[in-house]
Symmetry: C2
Subunit: 455 residues, 2 copies
């Protein structure tokens, strides 16, 4: 019995010592019983040469599973030096079609052709070629060809025999999919119902007809939403005319959900490419640089705007004190509004509200907060600052900046979404920087107007 | 056959008209075939009175499923006006134990007792009371009591009979769990293997022994990680001495994963409570206010710091131009570093690196970016600005601010995590505001030093 095995530092040291001394027995003993997902984690920590030593010790099924579990980058590096023939016969042969297609999709066109030619089972390579034709962000790109399919006219006994014949290829059987003679999907039968039915019963008497399915071109994220909403562990995929062509299992969908959430999080944190701590320094730096350069450019624009008001700043230098406050509040408020919209769009809970109703709701929220915050800063300045002009200017500008930034933060993701772009971009650098700059401009303009009146 | 049904505006209008005119037949016709998850979405859009009209039209199983699918807030509001007896007999009776425990856990102590007393099936209420004793963030809090359990000495035929007897209570059977006479978990059998084995085979000959399981006190997020890593659709849960007490299914874990990701995203976006666009204006405003108040306080501190340098700003007002740039860069860099660490901690990929190695890696990344950005702003100011002192000051300060903010952003989530707090707090308001302020201080101090030298 096992729970998760932690790959400890000591374990790694032992393993690397065994590899360094070429001690195959020791290495094999250490790796025994490890799940492919654990071995993939080990591969992530050791060099490609060490990984190559290890893979020769694995049986080919475990080796194939490990390859499927690896990070894309690690996998590419690892497979680069291995001949196409071995990749085809030792790895791809043993993989489910969806994993095989994912692995092959990352290869160069030349290597792809070589590997495909070397797959011995023509059905397997045919399935993989079929899968390669789908966009990876669609149901077709997510699905596997492995499933158990039975004809609606068969008896339970025939279905059980078919299950025995077909199930070898399928890791986890949740349902038998029922089709007609043209392979049009008609329904499904759970293994439970199959096991509990009489052998002579015809399958279309016990199958569920009112089932959820996806079509090959459906968006992967939409499929993920359906499977989440209806708590499905697997969903059949049909082609344009309703023929059963594959199935998507929940584990692949969990990855979609996680990756989508990570992408949004990275955007909101200013990381512009998919990056992990364990990536190298160069890649870590590169992922952070674009936002910082946009931020820097925004800062330069900010400096130019403030430069236009140099005379005001010379006469009222205390106005400069509140520049960070105004800029920070504009940026913060904008991100908050955008994030709420991004989440609402992702969870599909906004669709019944019109544009105007969204905007007026956001205006109300912004107005409440703007009023509270402006009052707070008014009271503070009223008692602390000598300048009533400053007190009025900061409060008024803050009010205007919060409302403006909030509306801007609401509108941009809605527009991005309407034009087919990822609304999460709104929480990224360009928009927040724009909000910072607009905030400054509003502040200085309000200042110029009000200082004349009150100073 | 169905894919997702969109709850359209027209559909809602029709339904509300039917409700308003008390047309039960029409309402029933509209709701026919709708999945409980869809009805829950409708409940989210209509008033409590309208919802009460509808629930009387549902059969009790669908009504119970709908209640289980509702948002916590909607549910509380809806159940408030319904007598405990009806809640117990119409809803809780029909629910799986995990859903029932979730629903009851949200009630007041008095209502909780009343509802529990009114559940007729003593086994069911006993199971629910058991589940209520676990913290909701543990495996015990996630699990359901419904599962199919067989004794290791039984034959396949006996197991099939037991499956027929027990399976009525269990929505989705993926595995039969195998225990000994003391109910100690020994292994599992997939339905596929059961269906394909001879009736006379003893179950412990075909069961898998090397299985993943969770213990009741395991952290929910850790269970989610294990199920993701090993692609499990269900995991058995044992008590402290290894007795089988429940199972967790992937749909509950998907919710954990999504909620965790949403919480991190909300923190990074400055939202301090779990809020959705569809929540009311007051709640939306309240979720945003705390960060804004902290930001405002940070801004006031920034103003105080700048006030200490008023004489410098009076002499060199052009220094004020670059205040937004410096403050924004400090905040941005800090969030980036924190987000990378937060993600690494969440995906458990950092554990093999020590504190010092993390810090030196982050230093290298920060140094590269600081160098590039400082050079860019140096070149810009060298050609644009009249003041060489300003040119030197901005570049030097930016370099220092980026490196400081990056280290700070790396250290804080690691420390939070070490002391058992949520590392994602580091991307929240307090830390980013601290970074803004420190950036200002560094800038003004560098300015004071360098202006003396170069001006």
């Amino acid at each position: 019995m096992t729970t998760r095995r932690e790959i400890s530092k000591d374990f790694l040291t032992d393993l690397r010592t065994a590899i360094a001394s070429g001690d195959e027995k020791k290495a094999q003993a250490l790796m025994e019983d490890l799940h492919a997902a654990d071995i993939a984690e080990i591969y992530d920590e050791i060099s490609t040469d060490e990984a190559r030593f290890l893979y020769l010790l694995l049986d080919s099924e475990k080796a194939a599973d490990t390859i499927a579990e690896l990070d894309e980058d690690d996998r590419e590096e690892f497979l680069e030096s291995i001949p196409s023939e071995i990749i085809a016969q030792q790895f791809i042969n043993e993989m489910d079609t969806d994993d095989a297609a994912d692995v092959i999709a990352d290869m160069s066109e030349k290597k792809k052709q070589e590997v495909l030619r070397h797959i011995e089972d023509i059905d397997h390579s045919g399935d993989i070629v079929d899968l390669l034709s789908y966009d990876e962000d669609t149901a077709g790109g997510l699905m596997a060809k492995e499933l158990v399919v039975v004809n609606q006219s068969w008896s339970v006994l025939t279905c059980l025999k078919e299950l025995g014949r077909q199930a070898d290829d399928v890791d986890e059987v949740y349902y038998l999919y029922v089709v007609d003679d043209d392979r049009i999907l008609k329904g499904l039968v759970s293994l439970k119902d199959l096991a509990l039915s009489k052998n002579t019963t015809i399958i279309n008497k016990i199958m569920e007809r009112d089932i959820h399915y996806a079509t090959v071109d459906d968006d992967a994220e939409e499929v993920a939403q359906i499977m989440q909403k209806y708590d499905l562990v697997a969903i059949p995929v049909v082609d344009a005319i309703g023929r059963l062509v594959g199935r998507i299992t929940i584990d692949d969908v969990v990855d979609v959900i996680r990756e989508e959430a990570e992408r949004d999080y990275q955007l909101a944190s200013g990381l512009t490419e998919d990056v992990e701590y364990s990536d190298n320094i160069y890649r870590n730096a590169r992922a952070r640089l674009p936002w910082l350069i946009i931020g820097l450019t925004g800062g330069v624009f900010g400096a130019l705007i403030l430069g236009r008001f140099e005379s005001s700043l010379r006469i009222y230098p205390e106005m400069a004190f509140f520049i960070p406050l105004i800029a920070a509040m504009g940026g913060n408020v904008g991100i908050q509004s955008s994030a709420i919209i991004v989440q609402g769009l992702a969870s599909n809970t906004l669709r019944l509200d019109g544009f105007v109703s969204k905007l007026s709701k956001d205006f109300a929220v912004a107005f409440i907060n703007a009023l509270i915050l402006s009052l707070l800063i008014f009271v503070y300045n009223f008692f602390i600052s000598d300048s009533f002009a400053l007190t009025i200017t900061v409060s008024t500008a803050l009010m205007a900046v919060i409302i403006f930034a909030s509306m801007f933060g609401t509108i941009i993701p809605i527009l991005l979404n309407r034009f087919g772009a990822d609304p999460a971009l709104a929480t990224g650098p360009f928009i927040t920087t724009s909000n910072d700059i607009m905030g400054l401009l509003i502040y200085m303009l309000v200042g110029r107007m009000l200082y004349g009146v009150f100073a």
